[in-house]
């Protein structure tokens, strides 16, 4: 009897808690669930910068909370529930693996708004957001194609998933455009974060003749390896990695979540928040292009900035036909651009890239 009473009250409390507590405090409370430590210098670090920007923007009107190193799965569900119970009005869950947990918990707290990064499942109180990093990759590809002397560009991939494959394709298309002889060497590290392995991968690529290293892993280890080798250029990933500028780091893709986080927090405060799918790029400021350093010749820098401007204002799409797939079949006709569905699920290389995507 006692047990069942407890459970009933528990279920009741779960249902009403969010409503009751949302009124009880006047500050807007924003929660952040992080997959790595905030000191990772990459993915989580940048999300935390976005959180700090929210605090700075709204001052005393908001309170932000975060939990770092949260494993995907039941731990993430517990952390989200805990934030909702503690009265969070808006919760950002910042890893793809939080997708199903976010949907589950959102169903239990209809009055709390959830924002899930990089996923594809939405609900009335769950939005998704992601960044068009491939736009930044196009600019990197352009600079890389122009700058390489060996015509070999090394690419450190994390896992063979659409996000990473899209970046490789985008970089390759634009490198090839300015340098028909360019060749990509791709190494899969099978990790998002393992500095020693990333450094090794970079060294191996450099030893095999690459003089440009692009990375889709989060640590600065490849930058350090490139600096060591000399005469190699790299690009910052996720954060600016400016400590390696002006060389080897000649530019970077910066995950700039701040404008989005501020806008969504504002929407919750104003009561105008709606569930939507956001996939922003350079134009909206979600993808930042770090300062192109003086190691890049002035004319190349100018072209890169022009490319950036044309992507930003929408006059140019990095995936514009004519393009063929690696197997020679047609991908995009002359002048056609890839739709978001194709981009989201991209699981093939474009024509010219050697090697197979690991299965």
């Amino acid at each position: 009897m006692k047990l069942s009473t407890l459970l009933t009250s528990a279920a009741l409390a779960l249902g009403v808690a969010s409503g009751a507590y949302a009124d009880a405090h006047e500050k807007t409370k924003v929660g952040f669930v992080f997959v790595g430590p905030v000191g990772d210098g990459g993915w989580t670090y940048e999300h935390n910068q976005g959180r700090l920007a929210v605090e700075k923007e709204f001052g005393d009107a908001v309170e932000t909370v975060f939990v770092e190193n949260v494993a995907e799965g039941p731990d993430s569900e517990r952390v989200m529930t805990q934030m909702a119970l503690d009265g969070a009005d808006l919760i950002f869950t910042t890893s793809f693996g939080y997708m199903d947990p976010t949907i589950n918990i959102a169903a239990k707290f209809p009055d709390v708004k959830f924002e899930h990064a990089t996923g594809y499942k939405r609900a009335d109180n769950v939005s998704t957001y992601s960044a068009r990093f491939y736009e930044g990759r196009a600019i990197q590809g352009h600079i890389a194609g122009k700058m390489t002397k060996s015509n070999i560009i090394g690419y450190i991939g994390s896992f063979p998933i659409p996000e990473v494959i899209r970046g490789i394709n985008s970089a390759y298309i634009h490198a090839k455009k300015v340098n028909p002889d360019v060749e990509f060497k791709i190494v899969w590290a099978y990790t998002w974060f393992d500095p020693a392995k990333e450094a090794d991968a970079a060294k191996v690529l450099i030893e095999q003749g690459a003089d440009v290293i692009l990375q889709h892993t989060d640590s600065t280890a490849p930058q350090a390896a490139a600096q060591e080798a000399g005469n190699v250029i790299t690009f910052g990933q996720a954060s600016d990695m400016a400590q390696y500028a002006p060389s080897p780091r000649v530019s970077s893709i910066i995950d700039n979540w701040a404008p989005y986080y501020i806008a969504r927090t504002k929407a919750v405060m104003d009561g105008t928040w709606e569930s939507k799918d956001t996939w922003d790029g350079i134009g909206a400021g979600m993808v930042g292009i770090g300062e192109i350093s003086d190691a890049v010749p002035a004319d190349v820098k100018e072209e890169a900035l022009a490319l950036k401007a044309s992507i930003a204002d929408g006059s140019y799409h990095p995936f514009t036909g004519p393009l063929k797939k690696q197997d020679g079949s047609d991908f995009l006709a002359e002048g056609a651009t890839a739709d978001d569905g194709t981009l989201a699920g991209m699981n093939f290389y474009v024509e010219g890239i050697k090697g197979d995507i690991p299965k």
Partner: protein, 360 residues
């Protein structure tokens, strides 16, 4: 002159008092650490230990203790049998992964058929996967005398790579837009290991953990095999004279620990976690080793130790979000707790003597 003297009998009083003393010592030193980080030490400690059990939302956290603690207890019970007998399976993490993969694969093979036989089949497959993975070090030890600590540890890394491989290939959700990870078993009714009573946190894994505790208790106290395990651990030579077959004991202990670890993986993937992903494993297999020793390899002790560790995980996450403590500080705090628990255990076996050593 202070020296240690072995007690003729382990002290019953101290076996209860030592964990309490350890927790108190951890609170003091942990409090100092939190104060050094500029946080209110009393509030921090209270958040970690009190909040999940008796705070405003205890109705939610108490069931979470079961969810977090069950895999730890289930795995630790299996390990403790071997540890008692001097058989060192430290690769439970790998067996946990293989159990999850085998179990999930068995279920997904039937997708989208619905049948009451699917979940039981998955349980069998999960147990088999864990057992199989543990049999490799067991058979190698029996046949060639290789060190099972090493082989089982190596197999963890093999299993992790295999997990990445199936997440990206064999078990990848065909409707997942190319993202890694399997279908979510929570959305496949026949394969879902859901809560048995809504909101209670009780799923089949919790039930299995409790059954394992009872099973181990009975085995160790009432059964001949339990006797064989204890004797082998304490005096291997005497065990052989008393007719214990060491080969069968190794196969049994490794098999049971692998089987339970596999079950833990299966219940986790079919229930709280829901899907096979690259990062599916979160270290339960290693943490369970600590749980086994904290529980002094005793079934009831393991149950309590699993609960205590689960409490610090849950309380630690609450402290992170409510007080802004860094995750690293929580990790250090847990490390301290383990150190003190291990250190104070001394007094159950020994007592301090002051003064000159007697001349023997």
């Amino acid at each position: 002159m202070v020296r240690l003297e072995k007690r003729p009998q382990p002290s019953r009083a101290f076996s209860w008092a030592a964990p309490v003393l350890a927790v108190v010592a951890t609170m003091i030193f942990g409090g100092l650490l939190f104060a050094a980080l500029g946080k209110d030490p009393v509030a921090s400690i209270e958040t970690i230990f009190w909040e999940p059990l008796f705070g405003d939302f205890a109705f939610y956290y108490r069931p979470q203790l079961l969810i977090k603690g069950a895999p730890l207890v289930l795995i630790a019970i299996g390990l403790s049998l071997g540890f008692k007998a001097g058989i060192w399976n430290i690769g439970a993490e790998g067996q946990y992964i293989m159990g999850a993969i085998f179990g999930a694969a068995a279920g997904l093979a039937f997708y989208p058929e619905q049948s009451v036989f699917i979940f039981p089949l998955m349980v069998v497959a999960g147990a088999f996967g864990g057992w199989l993975w543990a049999m490799i070090p067991a058979v190698l030890r029996v046949k060639f005398g290789t060190n099972e600590i090493l082989v089982s540890l190596m197999l963890v890394y093999v299993a992790e790579q295999f997990l990445a491989s199936v997440s990206l290939g064999l078990l990848k959700n065909p409707e997942g837009f190319g993202f890694p990870g399997s279908r979510n078993l929570q959305q496949y009714a026949s394969a879902h290991n859901g809560e048995l009573i809504a909101g209670s946190g009780m799923h089949w894994g919790v039930v299995a953990a409790l059954i394992a505790v009872i099973f181990a208790y009975v085995l160790l106290t009432r059964h001949r095999l339990g006797f064989a395990i204890r004797v082998t651990g304490q005096a291997p030579k005497a065990a052989r004279f008393s007719g214990v077959n060491p080969t069968r004991l190794v196969l049994f202990c490794m098999g049971v620990s692998g089987l339970l670890a596999g079950l833990a993986g299966l219940f986790e993937v079919a229930g709280p976690a829901g899907q096979i992903t690259i990062d599916f494993n979160v270290g339960y297999g290693f943490t369970a080793i600590i749980v086994a020793f904290l529980g002094r390899l005793h079934p009831v002790g393991i149950l309590l130790a699993g609960g205590l560790l689960a409490l610090t995980y849950i309380g630690g996450d609450i402290a992170q979000s409510q007080l802004g403590l860094p995750a690293a500080a929580i990790q250090v705090f847990q490390g301290m707790l383990l150190f003190f628990l291990l250190a104070f255990d001394l007094f159950t076996q020994f007592r301090l003597r002051f003064g000159q050593a007697e001349v023997i």
